[in-house]
């Protein structure tokens, strides 16, 4: 939706954030536009309203909110890395994106004036605010018999890069520190450089196991700034694409989970069923991952002819899924392996603002499809998945239940398609000096795209908050006091995106 930036003084900021969270609201994101201010999005799902606060930052430092509101910790670290704004009092201030090899003398997203200030701080002075200081120190755990296992950034299989540092006592994980940022490609900066008409190709590349969610969020955010209405057929096709993506990725994750247990019959059956889901996407868009399908103004192509074929495949998938799920969930060995492993308590889920599957497995019922406008939502009747035990098993059950819901939605959407236009022509310019935000329920959870335009109507700041940003911390907490061998299982059960976080 379009946003009105409300001014908030730096003294009030933390208190306002704390009060909002206590009242059941959610922290959307904390970032900056050009390094002169902090932007804070507070979401009220119940009221379907979003408050956007702007706090001026003088002298490049502000008071950290992390001690009061733990879920702010990652946002504050990122804002330091990308804008050079120092959160005073942050308990573990470390770089998130720009590692030692970067020789940048100024933060990449701040404006020229701030860059000039950065340059006056000498690296030798030991002032950690200097952009040249890129040192990173892992949290050390000491004591007799405690040892470290470093893993990554390159992993054993076909997985994205990231570094895990386990501190262990025997087989037990005492602490896990996750270092990300290896696939930071500068997507946000690139999105403010390219003409907005071409932004969708960059947005899609943010995390390509969710190109539909990213292109949908991009298109929705841009459309608010163009003030156009998207035809009904396009909205429905967008939702169809998003549900197909969710089904395909949940199947893939369930297969991966089965593979990590060693239940290969289920892993390969899930792989086969995912093929059916990808076939639906291919029929819809000509691309297995549905890249390039959604664009501002609608979708690039629409064929009513394939709708029946996709519905047929969806019904087939629904039938074929039943026995596979039964074999999986009725197998006592498999269930034993998943139960009680990698538990996230519901109080922690709330404190760290978890979203998506991880939140719904820990008792939170937040599903963006019920609250925020994207595709054909929120005007559909949707019962969110809900489990309370917060373990690997709960996350597997949430995925299964969401596949079933998605198949039902998909068939309903396909039955409800009506001929019509699927693309409207677009104005040349975005509205100047404006901000908009789009919130999409990707298969991982809440995905936020935030756009701010300058006086000429060019994109000045494009910010993407993937669900993984909230949930990586949950993985680090969930594996504590579990054995090292259960880490792959925990990791897969969260199924987080490295590229979506790193951008």
């Amino acid at each position: 939706m379009k946003l009105n930036l409300k001014q908030l003084s730096s003294e009030e900021r933390t208190a306002r954030l704390k009060a909002a969270l206590d009242a059941g609201d959610r922290l959307g994101l904390i970032t900056s536009i050009d390094g002169d201010q902090l932007i804070m999005l507070l979401l009220s799902p119940g009221k379907r309203s979003i408050d956007c606060y702007e706090t001026p930052v003088a002298g490049g430092t502000y008071k950290s909110a992390t001690a009061m509101v733990p879920q702010a910790h990652w946002f504050e670290r990122t804002t330091w890395d990308m804008f050079g704004l120092v959160p005073e009092g942050h308990p573990r201030l470390k770089r998130t994106h720009l590692h030692e090899p970067y020789t940048l003398t100024s933060p990449p997203l701040s404006h020229e004036r701030r860059k000039a200030i950065e340059k006056t701080i000498q690296p030798e002075s030991g002032d950690r605010r200097h952009a040249g200081d890129r040192s990173y120190h892992f949290l050390g755990v000491e004591g007799q018999g405690v040892y470290e296992i470093p893993v990554g950034p390159i992993h054993a299989g076909i997985i994205e890069p990231g570094h895990f540092r386990f501190s262990c006592y025997g087989e037990i994980i005492l602490n896990l520190e996750i270092r990300l940022g290896y696939v930071h490609r500068g997507i946000e900066k690139r999105l403010s450089e390219v003409p907005w008409q071409r932004g969708r190709f960059v947005a899609e590349a943010a995390a390509s196991d969710m190109p539909v969610a990213n292109s949908l969020a991009h298109a929705t955010a841009v459309e608010y700034l163009l003030q156009i209405e998207v035809p009904r057929l396009a909205l429905y096709l967008r939702s169809i694409a998003l549900e197909i993506e969710r089904i395909a990725m949940h199947l893939s994750d369930l297969g991966g989970l089965a593979g990590d247990i060693g239940f290969l019959a289920i892993a390969s059956s899930m792989g086969r069923l995912r093929g059916v889901a990808l076939r639906m996407g291919e029929l819809l868009s000509g691309n297995r991952l549905m890249r390039g399908f959604i664009c501002p103004g609608g979708v690039v192509s629409a064929s009513m002819r394939v709708a029946e074929e996709i519905a047929q495949l969806a019904r087939q998938l629904k039938q074929e899924l039943k026995p596979v799920v039964a074999f999986y969930m009725d197998n006592q060995v498999a269930v034993d392996r998943m139960e009680g492993v990698g538990v996230v308590r519901s109080s922690l889920a709330r404190e760290f603002g978890l979203v998506g599957v991880a939140a719904r497995a820990s008792g939170d019922r937040y599903d963006c499809r019920n609250y925020w406008n994207h595709g054909a939502y929120p005007n559909v009747d949707l019962e969110p998945a809900n489990e309370t035990s917060g373990d690997v098993f709960a996350r597997a059950k949430v995925r299964i239940s969401e596949i079933e819901t998605s198949l039902k939605l998909l068939i309903n959407f396909l039955d409800d398609l009506k001929e019509g236009s699927f693309l409207v022509s677009l104005p040349d310019r975005l509205e100047a000096n404006s901000s908009s935000v789009a919130i999409v329920e990707s298969h991982r959870g809440e995905l936020i795209h935030f756009i701010h335009t300058d006086a000429r109507g060019e994109i000045q700041r494009y910010c993407i908050k993937d669900a993984s940003v909230n949930n990586w911390t949950a993985l680090a907490i969930a594996v504590r006091n579990n054995v090292v061998a259960d880490f792959p299982l925990c990791n897969k059960s969260f199924s987080l995106s490295y590229s979506g976080h790193d951008l």
Partner: protein
Amino acid sequence: MLRLLKYLINRGIVTNKAVPELLDDNITGFPKATDVPCVSECQACTESCPTGAIEITREKSIAIDRGACITCKECIRVCPSGTLINDTSVASFAFTREDLFRPAPAKAETGPDRSIFSKSLAVRVVSTGCSACDLELAAASNPIFDMERFGIHVVASPRFADALVVTGPVPKSMHEPLLSCYEAMSDPKLVIALGTCAISGGVHKNGYTEANGVGPLLPVDIFIPGCPPHPWQIIKGILAARRLNGRIRKEDQG
């Protein structure tokens, strides 16, 4: 357990028999220029391309760089004369960067197929990008495509690997890990650039993260373009390694 076996047997074999020459018609492949003359002075395709992969040369012919193309189909959509068409060739790989400027052959050349790697290739995958190529590479190992039957194995250490498959544009933080992975592989070895980002940086090139692909860092032996390539294109490309003998570091020679 017996019920599970019975279920699996009743499903039958889902694996496709052979690698096809062409993908299904509805799949978006690379643009290909036909003989149909362009509308005069038309620049619609070059203007529509988000990565500058299309150029109209002085001789008025259309040069398409498949190594930069992200298969978004925009050029085909805007082409008023129908000169550009969708090319679904599976053999879209190339052995040199220059070959990616030529259209993919309709039928793959069948080379001698006798290299030092014979019919088995162990590949190590280093992912440095958005994971689309990783997903398709993982799909190439699923029961439908099953690349292991052709002798391609994904291995868990560079020490076992014959070929290094790199996906993604290799941003700055991955330069060092990638080079040390290459260093850890024993000779002779191959480098395969999988996907448009790994070949040219794609939509990320020339940014502050220096994500310009594998080329500036390592010698590439096989280029498999696409965004992401189809699993068949990946399998076909990796199988082409059977025609290469791999590189040996200079200091070890003689």
